[in-house]
Symmetry: C2
Subunit: 127 residues, 2 copies
């Protein structure tokens, strides 16, 4: 059984809810900003602690993009990848997946997972 008992608090609920309602991965800053609208006086430390707790529970996942702050999203979204707009810097989920990855790597290597990030311009910035 888990050693840590997880309590239900308004901060935690607010953060999970913000993530649930977001269609894209959010950074700590974005989380803080969004959740502060619901919980006044919410501290950064709480956001970090809560996100890390959610990470440990596999409720959220890390979305890391080079040169960008780490973002988080719910883990229950299934396998997908990410697109970052080079103009507005927002990160979008992209459905679907590439295949034949296995054929790229040397024969004796064992593949467990992969991550794909695409860069370009999002619909609004491209026009």
């Amino acid at each position: 059984m888990p050693s840590r008992a997880s309590r239900k608090t308004k901060q935690r609920d607010a953060l999970r809810e913000v993530l649930e309602r977001s269609e894209r991965p959010l950074s700590i800053g974005e989380l803080l900003e969004a959740a502060t609208k619901r919980i006044d006086g919410l501290g950064v430390a709480t956001v970090y602690r809560t996100v890390n707790a959610l990470l440990e529970d596999d409720v959220v996942e890390v979305v890391a993009i080079p040169g960008e702050p780490v973002r988080y999203e719910l883990a229950n979204k299934g396998h997908h990848h990410h697109f970052q707009c080079e103009k507005c810097t927002r990160v979008f989920d992209i459905a679907g997946c590439i295949d034949n990855i296995r054929k790229l790597i040397p024969p004796k290597f064992r593949v467990r997972a992969h991550e794909l990030t695409v860069y370009g311009l999002c619909a609004s910035c491209a026009r």
Copy 2:
């Protein structure tokens, strides 16, 4: 013409050489450590400044792996991707590329680049 004139210094040479001799991407710390063996008293700031200059000149590229410090490698290796061994944490280059990325993203998005990281066990760790 470029506004910045790039000088030839031993620090810069040492760093580029370290990168040239490395068969895998290196972090700032690894760069500092390796280059200090050649240039005594080399400062961190210089490593950062130099790496950033090399980045701007497209001499090196960023290799970012989630949860890992950013690494750098020469840009002249051509398009390729990376494989991180989950056991020994080493990062390997993998030749070749996936295609049909464009079909994954929404129609109005514009694709400029992509990055793929594969995780698993390398040949020596898999056996």
